[in-house]
Amino acid sequence: MTMTEKSLQVQEKKELQGRAESTRTVPVYVPAVDIFETTNDMTVMVDMPGVAEQSVSIDLNNDELTISGTMAEEAKTETMLLQEYQSGDYYRQFNVSRAIDRNQIEASISNGVLKIVLPKAEIAKPRKIDIKTT
């Protein structure tokens, strides 16, 4: 295994702008994502720390993929001494191609990272095109 020597930097959380206002009093953030594609599927990885499995909603409407997560609000009796981050909800939308096999979409969450695997429909899988020589 190769070790990554890079050290992590603080990424300031981006607050969501220009969507209908939330009725909750917590901020709504745009989560950081990775999207990658392999031959058979497209994978979306979303950082959603503080969001439990049951508070994530994933919605695919036509070609619009909407991901949202609600953080658990707990009544805290603690006094804050130092605050370097704020927690809140997450919301992000993507346009995905129509060539997704909608019935085979799978999602899982582990360590605060949501992983959505969108399998490509047969027609969208890459085909090698033979070049005929005469």
Binding site: T4, E5, K6, S7, L8, Q9, V10, Q11, A32, V33, D34, I35, F36, E37, T38, T39, T43, M45, D47, M48, P49, G50, V51, A52, K76, T77, E78, T79, M80, L81, L82, Q83, E84, Y85, Q86, S87, I109, N111, G112, V113
Partner: protein, 154 residues
């Protein structure tokens, strides 16, 4: 002749004065912080990953950090006197033959030291990594706990 004109958009249901004021105050605060070169969360902001929240109640200190994608086995927490050390690594997802459309999630190592404001009982310190959020509960040492002082009457 006196004409009374009502503003066209006068609809009470759309006007939430408290909310508007709150929002304005937040923006002003942020603006001043930016001008002063400070982070919105105060002068103590360290700029070192991971961002931490430190809070307390009568018996414990609490440290929380958002560490999405960090596995418990890649995280190491230690305490030496009043310095708490958090180090670890967030590893990249290695997928054979993947081509990336977007790559915003950072990977790499981190190491952060925090000076605790009180003496704590390191033996009873516990930590938990749940849904990508690390919580460390540090019980205060007896000497650091708040005490009520009785007043004698004669």
């Amino acid at each position: 002749m006196v004409m009374i004109r009502y503003p066209r958009h006068f609809d009470v249901s759309f006007f939430r004065p408290v909310r508007e004021l709150e929002e304005m105050r937040r923006r002003m605060d942020r603006l001043f912080d930016e001008v002063a070169g400070r982070h919105p969360f105060g002068a103590l902001f360290s700029g070192v990953y991971p961002s931490l929240n430190l809070s307390e109640d009568g018996s414990n200190l609490y440290i929380r950090a958002e560490l999405a994608g960090v596995k418990p086995e890649d995280l190491e927490i230690s305490i030496e006197r009043n310095t708490l050390d958090i180090r670890g690594e967030r590893q990249a997802e290695n997928v054979e033959g993947a081509s990336y459309h977007r790559r915003e999630r950072q990977t790499g190592r981190f190491h952060k030291a925090v000076t605790l404001p009180y003496e704590i009982d390191s033996e009873r310190t516990v930590s938990e990594l749940k849904n990508g959020v690390l919580t460390i509960v540090l019980p205060k040492a007896e000497a650091a706990k708040p005490k009520k002082i009785g007043i004698k009457t004669s």
